[in-house]
Amino acid sequence: MELLIVLALVAVVAVLVTAPLRAGRAEAEEEAESAERAELDAAREAKYREIREAELDYRTGKLDEAEWRMQDRRLRGEAIELLRALDALS
C-alpha cells in the first residue's frame, strides 16, 4: 500500500514538473509577451502612486506649490512614456 502511494506521488510530480517541456515553445513565447506588459503595467501603477504622493506632500505642507508643480510635471511625463510603451505592445 505504502509503495503504491509513493509510486503515485512520483508519477504526479513527474507529470506536473515536465508539463511545460511537453507543451513546447509556443506557450512560452506567449508568456513572454504578457510578462513585458505586466512589467510595464506595474511600472505605470508605481508612477501613478508617486504622482499621488507628491500631491499629498503638497497638501500636507511638505512641498511648496512651485516645487510640487515641477515634480508633478516630471512624473506625468514619465507616466506618459510608460503609456506609450504599453501602446507599442498592442
Binding site: 514538473v17 505586466a38 504622482i51 499621488r52 505642507g61 511638505k62 516645487e67 510635471r73 506625468r76
Partner: protein, 753 residues
Amino acid sequence: MPTVGRACLLIALAVAVYGIGASLYGARTGRREWVASGRRAVYAVGAALGLAFLLLEVAFARSDFEFALVGSHSSTTTPLFYRLTGMWSSQEGSLLLWATLLSAWSSLILFLTRRRLREVAPYATAVLLGLAAFFVGLMVFLETPFAQASPVPAEGVGLNPLLRHPSMMIHPPMLYSGYTLFAVPFAFAVGALVTRRLGAEWIRSTRPFTLAAWGFLGVGIILGARWSYTELGWGGYWAWDPVENASLMPWITGTAFLHSVMVQEKRGMLKVWNVSLVLATGVLAILGTFLVRSGILESIHAFGASTLGTPFLVLIGVLIAGSVALVVSRAPDLRTEHRLDSIFSRESMFLLNNLVLVGICFVVFWGTFFPLISEALTGTQSSVGPPWFNRYIAPLVIVLVLLMGVGQTIAWRRATLAGLRRTMLGPALLALTVLGGLLVGGVTEKPAALVLFVFAAFVVGTVWQELWRGTKARRAMSDDSLPMAVVSLVRRNRRRYGGYVVHLGIALFFVGIAASSAFQSARDVQLRPGQSASIDGYQVRYDRPTGQVVAAANGGLERIDLGAVMSVSRDGKAVGTMRSRRSFFPSQSPEFGPVSRFFEGETTSEVALDAGLRRDLWTVVSPDINKLLPRVAEGDRVFARALRSEALSPAETANALGVAVTGLARSYTTAPPPATFRLIVSPMVTWIWIGAIVTLLGGLIAIWPAPSGAPGRVRAAYAARVAVDLGAAAGRPARPSTEMPASMPALDRASPS
C-alpha cells in the same frame, strides 16, 4: 506511514535539485519552457513537503508512537493543542516546518511573478530551491522526522513543560515564517545582481514579502517576549539572550531595508546599500536558525540545541562569500542615478535612520558573539550582559525615535525653511508641552527616558498632524464625512499611512520599554503566611500556601503544584487576590526514585500579574521544598523496598504513589515553610504590547494591495489618460485634458467639487 513521509522528503530533494538545474539551464539558454519547469519544481517541492508536514501532524494528533518523534515529544496525556504544535519543539520537526514554509512562500512569489521579472525569476528560483534542498537534505541525511520507533512505546515522553504556553507554540512558526519570507527578497536580489537588472522592479515585486517577513518576525519576537514575561519567572521580557538577539538582527536590517528601498524606488539611489542590506538580512535569517539549532552559545533555548552546526556554518559561509562576490562584481551597475540634493531631505533622514539601525544591529551582533570573539582572542570565553547592551543601544534608539518623527515631516529632495516650520511647529509644541509636564511631575531622575518620552511625543504629534492635514485635503476634494475622509485617505495611500501607524506603534512600544526599565521597582522577600511586604505603594500579604497534585487525562500524575495566595492593596484600598505557583513535572530519568523524580524534573512558574495601563504588579513565588526532602527520601526507600519485594502490583504501586505525593503536597500546606517572593512593579509595560499591536496593524495597512488606478484602456491623449487614471484611483471624476502634463490641472482641480 513513516515510509511515505521519508519518500516525500526524497522526492522533494530530487525535484529541488532538478529544479535548480532546469531554472539555470532555461535562464542561460533563454528556453522559457525549462524556466517554467523549474518554477513548477518549486510547486512540487511545496506539495511534497506539505504532504510530509500533514502526515507528521496527523501522527502527532493520533499519538502514533510508530513515529519516534511523536514518542519523544508528545504523549497521550498532552492536550490536543500542544500535540498539534509539538512538532516544532523538536529539531527534526523544526527543520520540516522551516522547509515547508520556505517552499510555500517560494511557490507563492513565483506564481505571482510568473509573468514578470522574466530574467531575474529563474535565478531567484534556483536560490530558493537551493535553500530548500539544504534543509530537506539535512532531514534526509542527518535528522529525519520520520524515524520509526522500535519497539513502539506504549506512551510518549510528553512535551517540555516550559513550552506549554499558547504564545510559545505560535512563536516558532511566526519566527520561521519571518526567516523564510526574508529568503524571497534575498533570492530576487541575487537574481537581480546576476542578471544586472538592478532597477526597482524586483524590489516592487518582492516588497509585500519583505513586509510580511518583517511583520511575522516582529510578531514572533513579541510573542517570545510575552512568553518570557509571563512564563519564565524572572520578571523581564527581554534578556538579550543569543537566540532572542538572533531573531532581532534580521528584523532590524529588514526595517532598514524597507526604508532605504523607498529611496531607490523614488531616486534611483542607494543601490549598493540596498542589495547589501537585503543580502545581509537573508544571511542573518539563516544565522538565526543556526544559533537555535547549533547550541554554540549558551541560551535559554538550549532545548533546541543539536549538532547541525557544521552544515549551517558551511551554508552561511557560502552565502556570505557569494553575496560579497556578487556585489563587488556588479559595482559598476550599482552606481547611483542621483546625488543627495540636500541634507534636509527625506532621503537624508532615511539614510541616517539606516545608519542608526545598522549601528544597533552591529551592537547586538557584537554582544551576541562576544563569547566566541573573546575566546578566539584570549582563549577565555566571557560574555556581556544586559547593562552592556543597554549602554550602547539606548542612545541609538533615542536618535532613531527622533529621526522617525523628523522623517515624517520632511519632503523628498529638499526641504525649505518655510516648509520645515509648517510641518514641525505643531509636533514640536506638543513635545515641549510633554517635556514641561514631565518636569513638573518630577520625572527628572532618568534623563535618557525623559528625552525618549519627549521625542516619542514629537512622533505622535507628526502622525496626528499628517492624518489631520491629509483628511482636510481629502475633504476639500470630496463630499466625504470626517470618518469617511479618514478611511478614504488611508485606503488610497496605504503605504504612507500604514507607515505612519507603524511609527506610532513603535513610539508607544519604546515609551513602554523606557518607562518599564527605567522606573521599575523590584524586591525579593521571604514571607510566612500572614506576613506582608510593600513595594512602590502596594502591600502584598501572603495569605496561605497552596498545594495540589494534578492528574493527567489518562489518570496518571502530571505534576505537583506548590503555590501561594496573596491579597494585594494599594494605598489602603484592596486591589484583589493574586495566585502564583511553581509546578514540578516528574523527570523521566530512571536514576531518580519514584517520589524524588517529581522534584528533579522540569519546573515552571505561574506568574501572578495585575496588569494595567499605568503599571503592572508582577509576582512569583518560589516555594521552599527543603523541608519536604527528608519525606521524599523516605518515600523513595519505601517504594524501592515494595518494588524489590514485588509486594504491590503496578496498579497498586501507582495508587500508593498518588497517595504519597498527595500527602506531600498537603503537608506543604499544613506546615508551610517561609516562601520567597519576587515582587516587581513596572510602569507602562502594557504599552509595549499595545505598541506592538498598533505596529502590526500599520504593517497590515501597508501590505494591503492598493486599489487599481486603471479602470480600462482609455483612447485619448496620453496626458489626459494619466489624469483620467489618477482621477479614477482617487475616487473622483476626472476632467480629461488634452494639454501636455506641464499645464495639466492639479488633481483636486480635476474634480468638479
